[in-house]
Symmetry: C2
Subunit: 341 residues, 2 copies
């Protein structure tokens, strides 16, 4: 099966499992679940059904593809795949509050529509429901010890997410963040969850520990590459494709990899002078871009993304599975490389 | 052993388990854990050790007392007791953001000191660490099926907490909240977690299902009584004892039981006229108090608290355990009755 055929088969299963996890029969809670369903992309802001993108579902897809590659039954891994996507969406709802982002995927964010108090609670509800959904693994024929191992990995990832988020916020006030510190931050914020996705897929397929670890490392390295490409798009991306204003990460003074790298380079002192201003405006963007170009910050970031990508492929080879079994994951990884949105 | 002797034995065990769960060896995360430890009462706002109250630890105490009453080993239940207290503190950190409360237990709240973005993440970290702490049950000799049952009950309670919080916020804009709706709200916001505390204590003692259910119901009914008494203190409490300004719940127009009851009584129309004002001030307090007195809202609330208290004691008797085994829980329940802080 090609990756397209797999996606055509898995995406509806994922969507159905997600919808079951986030619905309620209780009329008094319709608004509570309505906000969650709005965020997942199924409802508009008046809670009417809508058609349109609600996210790529990349993480649950990775989970099911890893499960299938390790010769597991994807039905068994579905609760884990859905739990991971719900957890990811919990973190997006709270990130949007923390970053004061008014829009996501071209639509107003939950806090922008219903206020910070409701949005904090909507995120908490998604966090709680992610755990409850994962708990449904026990309904399938998964041995209890394996369910507990899945829960332990899940909880470790939840902790890592909040640590990455803390580091990210603590970087806001600093101009001396090192590339290593940046890598530790995205390890928690992005890579841990993608590593969990592939690791749990293999675990629930009943793969041996070494194979699970290789799958987990594949997702984790892919996550590092994914985040660095995201950083590149946040500065040099095409607004029409990304849905975010061009150079938005510069105006928001985000400590993404190209900036962190340049701050530690020969252009560092001149860049710090710009970044010490209380606010950066559109007029400062050309000066920042010129300094980033001077030290080839984009090329450096691209090389680091490529390196992480190669490490991901090496980890995939380490699983010891056949090329045929691994082909869909290779295809998915290739489609993320040099992406433009 | 009297309740005092039990408390002297259990409280240090609880505190030690909590401290182990919330510490980090990582220097880069010292601030992240520092904020959590501040909230738990161990550090001051400069992250220096402090001595002073950080909460009553009522829920973990209930958990260990229930475990001991059901002839279990409290060491086995300790991870659950600590996880419950951490979960409770997650909900307090987020409640304080949602209610814009500047102080708690006489100290500035986390968001008031470090801002909303960090406070959202501190709450999330406590939520994640609560789950990880519960997962440590698997390190003891607890059968995996029982650990999974404990996790399922824990996750159901997390979901109930966010539902109760949603209902509470949805009541803010309404003047037609019924007493039944109020009871459904505090069931999620307060009673579910106290029911979990006693239920998990009995479950981890290996008690049969019927006994676990009776313990759970005891905690749940005690939680209803506890919340109603809290509502009474929020209106008629002594500022010097509660640490909250007198009648603060009136000025904040909270839909607590006495107000919900009075809004549905003969004084309802006059009370609604007052509550329709965009703001209530200290000058409105005497008028509100007079209307509450006219329909004996305090007496009604006290009778409802007493009824829930009697139901709690009946559930305790239903456990079928000896009076001697149940005595400490009876004593604790009695100490909460008619409390003044």
């Amino acid at each position: 099966m090609s990756i397209q055929e797999r996606m055509a088969r898995y995406l509806p299963l994922i969507e159905e499992t997600l919808q079951r996890a986030l619905q309620t029969p209780c009329v008094a809670l319709a608004g509570h679940h309505g906000m969650m369903q709005y965020h997942l992309g199924w409802l508009d802001e008046g809670f009417r059904p809508r058609v349109g993108e609600g996210g790529k579902r990349l993480r649950p897809l990775l989970c099911l593809l890893a499960c299938a590659a390790a010769r597991g039954d994807v039905q068994v891994a579905l609760p884990a795949a859905a739990a991971i996507e719900i957890l990811h969406n919990f973190s997006l709802v709270h990130d949007d509050i923390e970053d004061r982002s008014p829009t996501r995927r071209g639509r107003p964010t939950v806090w922008a529509l219903w206020g910070v108090p409701q949005a904090v609670n909507v995120g908490d509800a998604l966090f709680a429901l992610a755990h409850r959904t994962l708990g449904r693994l026990a309904e399938h024929d998964v041995p209890p010890e394996r369910v507990l191992a899945a829960m332990r990995a899940f909880d470790d990832t939840c902790v890592a997410l909040t640590e990455g988020q803390y580091l990210d916020m603590s970087f806001e006030a600093r101009l001396d963040v090192s590339v290593d510190e940046y890598l530790a931050m995205i390890e928690g914020k992005t890579a841990a969850l993608m590593g969990l996705s592939t690791g749990l897929g293999a675990l629930l397929a009943g793969a041996p520990a070494h194979t699970v670890e290789s799958f987990q490392r594949f997702g984790q390295r892919l996550g590092i590459a994914f985040q660095i490409e995201d950083d590149i798009l946040g500065i040099w991306g095409d607004e029409a494709l990304t849905g975010k204003p061009a150079a938005s990460d510069i105006v928001e003074k985000k400590k993404t990899l190209p900036v962190v790298y340049a701050l530690g380079s020969a252009a560092g002192e001149r860049l710090r002078t710009l970044y010490r201003q209380p606010q950066l405006t559109a007029e400062d963007v050309p000066s920042v871009l010129a300094l980033l170009a001077e030290v080839d910050a984009e090329g450096t970031a691209r090389r680091m993304a490529e390196e992480a990508h190669q490490q991901a492929l090496a980890a995939l080879a380490d699983t010891g599975l056949s090329e045929e079994a691994l082909a869909p994951l290779r295809e998915l990884a290739a489609s993320l490389r040099g992406r433009r949105r």
